[in-house]
C-alpha cells in the first residue's frame, strides 16, 4: 500500500457553535467541496468510508449526492480513534482495485447537539458498569485519571499542559477559520475553571458543529488532478492488550495506550523515523493526550514531553516539531480529529496558515484512550 494512494481533495464547512443545518446536509456540502477541490465529479466517486457513529450512512450520501453505485464502502469504529483509519481503508481499497475514488468524511453537530455523556441511561452494560455508577462519566474525567498518574510518574505539571493549550491557540490566531480568535496566555490557562482535577476548561477541546471530507485516489490519478497530491505513505491501527475504551486502566501497563502499537507499525511501514517527521497533528481532545502521544509516538522519552512543550517544541514559531498548526481540537474545532487530517494534507500542499517550510512528512494521529489509528502523509 505504500505510496499507492493519495489525498487529492479536501473540503469543509465553516465551524460553529450552532451551524443551523443538519449533519446530513453539512456532510453532503463538505463532500461536494472536497470533490471540487480535487477537480473530480460526483460521478467519479465509487467508494465511501465513514465513522460507524456517523449519523448519515452510505445510502444517505449516495442518494443525496447522486452516486449511481458504490463499489466499496466501509466503516471504522471507536469515535475519535477512527479518523486516520478511514483514510487507510480508502487507500487499501484503491491499492487493491476495489474502488478508484473514495471519499471519507465526518459531520458532527457536537456544538448544538448536546453532550453525549448527558444521555447516560440508568442501567449501564459492558465496560461502563465499572465506571459510570461512580460518576466517572465524561470523557474529561476518564482522561483526567490517566493525566494524574502521568503527572505523578513523569513530573509533568499543569504548566506543561498549559503550554500545549497556549501553543495551539497561537496557531488558531493565524487561521481565520479557527473558532478561537482570542489570545491565550499561561495565566489565562491557569485561571480557567477546574472541570475534572487535574484538568481545567482549557485542557478540553471545543464543542463544535462542522463537517469535513477528503478524497482518496491512486497517486497516478492524483498527479493529473488540480491539487498537489498528499501521498499516503503509511497508515496503521491498533488496540493494545486488554483495552478498556476511554477507561484503559486495566491493561498490564497503565500508561500504555494503543498509540505505541500504532506507532510501531506506522513507522515500520513508512520506513521513516519520528525524527524525520516535519510536522504533526496530534489528537488533542485533551491536552494530556498530546504529551502522551509525543512520548508514545517516539518523539521523546517518557517524561520529556512536558518540559519540551514548555520550551516551545510544538510551536510553529521556532519549535522543533510544529504541531496542530491549524489550532487543533483545542482551538480550531473539535470534529473528532478530522480537521487534523485536512491540516496534515495542507502542510504537504504548502497551504497551511502556519506552514512549515518544505514539509515533506506530515504525521496525523487519531484518538488516544480508544482503539486508534494514524497516518503519515508525504509529498510525491
Amino acid at each position: 500500500m505504500k505510496r499507492a494512494a493519495a489525498v487529492c481533495g479536501i473540503g469543509q464547512t465553516e465551524f460553529a457553535k450552532n451551524i443551523g443545518r443538519s449533519e446530513k446536509r453539512i456532510a453532503v456540502e463538505a463532500i461536494r467541496l472536497a470533490l471540487d477541490d480535487a477537480g473530480l465529479q460526483i460521478s467519479d466517486v465509487d467508494g465511501l468510508v465513514r465513522f460507524n457513529i456517523e449519523t448519515s450512512d452510505e445510502v444517505d450520501i449516495t442518494g443525496n449526492l447522486g452516486i449511481e453505485n458504490l463499489r466499496y464502502f466501509g466503516e471504522v469504529g471507536w469515535g475519535g480513534g477512527a479518523g486516520c483509519a478511514t483514510i487507510t481503508q480508502a487507500a487499501m481499497a484503491v491499492a487493491t482495485g476495489q474502488a478508484e475514488v473514495v471519499v471519507c468524511w465526518r459531520a458532527r453537530n457536537r456544538g448544538s447537539g448536546g453532550r453525549p455523556w448527558a444521555a447516560t441511561g440508568a442501567g449501564v452494560p459492558g465496560h461502563g458498569q465499572f465506571s459510570l455508577p461512580y460518576g466517572l462519566v465524561r470523557p474529561v474525567d476518564q482522561i483526567a485519571m490517566m493525566a494524574r498518574r502521568h503527572m505523578f510518574e513523569t513530573g509533568a505539571t499543569e504548566e506543561h499542559l498549559g503550554a500545549v493549550a497556549v501553543s495551539f491557540r497561537a496557531h488558531a490566531l493565524r487561521n481565520p477559520l479557527a473558532s478561537m480568535q482570542k489570545p491565550m496566555t499561561l495565566d489565562d490557562y491557569l485561571a480557567s475553571r477546574m472541570v475534572s482535577e487535574p484538568l481545567r476548561k482549557f485542557d478540553c477541546c471545543l464543542e463544535s458543529d462542522g463537517a469535513l471530507a477528503v478524497v482518496v485516489t491512486s497517486v497516478e490519478r492524483a498527479r493529473d488532478l488540480k491539487q498537489k497530491p498528499a501521498v499516503i505513505l503509511a497508515g496503521a491501527q491498533g488496540t493494545g492488550p486488554e483495552h478498556t475504551p476511554m477507561t484503559n486502566y486495566h491493561a498490564p501497563e497503565f500508561l500504555k495506550t494503543a498509540s505505541p502499537y500504532v506507532a510501531k507499525e506506522l513507522f515500520a511501514r513508512a520506513g521513516v523515523k519520528p525524527a524525520d517527521i516535519d510536522v504533526a497533528q496530534f489528537y488533542d481532545a485533551f491536552t494530556p493526550l498530546v504529551l502522551l502521544s509525543m512520548e508514545e509516538y517516539g518523539f521523546c522519552a517518557k517524561g520529556e514531553a512536558g518540559p519540551l512543550a514548555a520550551e516551545g517544541y510544538l510551536s510553529w514559531d521556532g519549535g522543533k516539531l510544529p504541531s496542530n498548526t491549524s489550532g487543533g481540537g483545542l482551538s480550531e474545532a473539535y470534529v473528532h480529529g478530522f480537521n487534523l487530517i485536512l491540516e496534515g494534507v495542507r502542510q504537504i500542499r504548502g497551504t497551511s496558515t502556519s506552514q512549515v517550510a518544505g514539509a515533506e512528512l506530515s504525521l496525523v494521529t487519531s484518538g488516544a484512550g480508544v482503539p486508534t489509528s494514524a497516518v503519515i502523509l508525504a509529498s510525491d
Binding site: 455523556w117 448527558a118 447516560t120 441511561g121 440508568a122 442501567g123 449501564v124 452494560p125 459492558g126 465496560h127 461502563g128 458498569q129 465499572f130 465506571s131 459510570l132 455508577p133 461512580y134 460518576g135 466517572l136 462519566v137 465524561r138 474525567d141 483526567a144 485519571m145 490517566m146 494524574r148 498518574r149 505523578f152 475553571r193 477546574m194 472541570v195 475534572s196 482535577e197 487535574p198 484538568l199 492488550p241 486488554e242 478498556t244 477507561t247 486502566y249 486495566h250 498490564p252 497503565f254
Partner: protein
C-alpha cells in the same frame, strides 16, 4: 426526588462480582491455570488463554493509584455530590489489579497517590451495592 443514578447492568460474566458486593464481599477473577488476577471480568485468561477462571475473595485493601476530583457540569444524579473524588485503587493482591470507586470520606483532602484505602459497601435505593473506598492509616 433525586434523578436516577447510573447503576451496573450485570451480564453473565460480571454477575458474580455484583452478587458478591451484595454479600459484602469484594471478589476478583483468577486464572486456575497461571494464577493471574483478572479485572475487568473476562471469558478467558488474557495471559495464558485458559478458560478455567474462578472468582476469589480479595482482602479489600489497596492504595490510591490515581484519582480525579469531579466538578460540574455532571449528570443530575451526581450534582449534589460535586466536587467528588473518583479513585482508581490498586489492590494489595497484585500491582496490575485496579478497580474504580468513590472515596466516601467526609474529608478527602488527604487523598494522594499511594495513600492506603480499604473497601466499604454503599447500598443504593434500588438494591444495588457498590464497592467503595475509605482512607486508612
Amino acid at each position: 426526588m433525586t434523578p436516577a443514578r447510573p447503576i451496573p447492568q450485570p451480564d453473565e460474566v460480571t454477575q458474580p462480582y455484583w452478587d458478591a458486593a451484595k454479600r459484602g464481599e469484594l471478589v476478583m477473577q483468577r486464572c486456575g491455570s497461571c494464577q493471574r488476577w483478572i479485572f475487568q471480568p473476562k471469558l478467558a485468561c488474557p495471559s495464558c488463554h485458559s478458560d478455567e477462571l474462578v472468582w476469589e475473595p480479595v482482602s479489600g485493601n489497596g492504595t490510591i493509584y490515581s484519582f480525579v476530583k469531579v466538578h460540574p457540569p455532571v449528570l443530575p444524579a451526581f450534582k449534589e455530590k460535586t466536587p467528588y473524588l473518583v479513585v482508581l485503587v490498586e489492590l494489595a493482591e497484585d500491582p496490575g489489579l485496579r478497580v474504580l470507586g468513590n472515596l466516601l470520606d467526609h474529608d478527602t483532602s488527604a487523598a494522594r497517590i499511594g495513600h492506603p484505602v480499604a473497601v466499604v459497601y454503599e447500598s443504593l435505593d434500588d438494591g444495588v451495592v457498590l464497592p467503595q473506598w475509605q482512607l486508612t492509616d
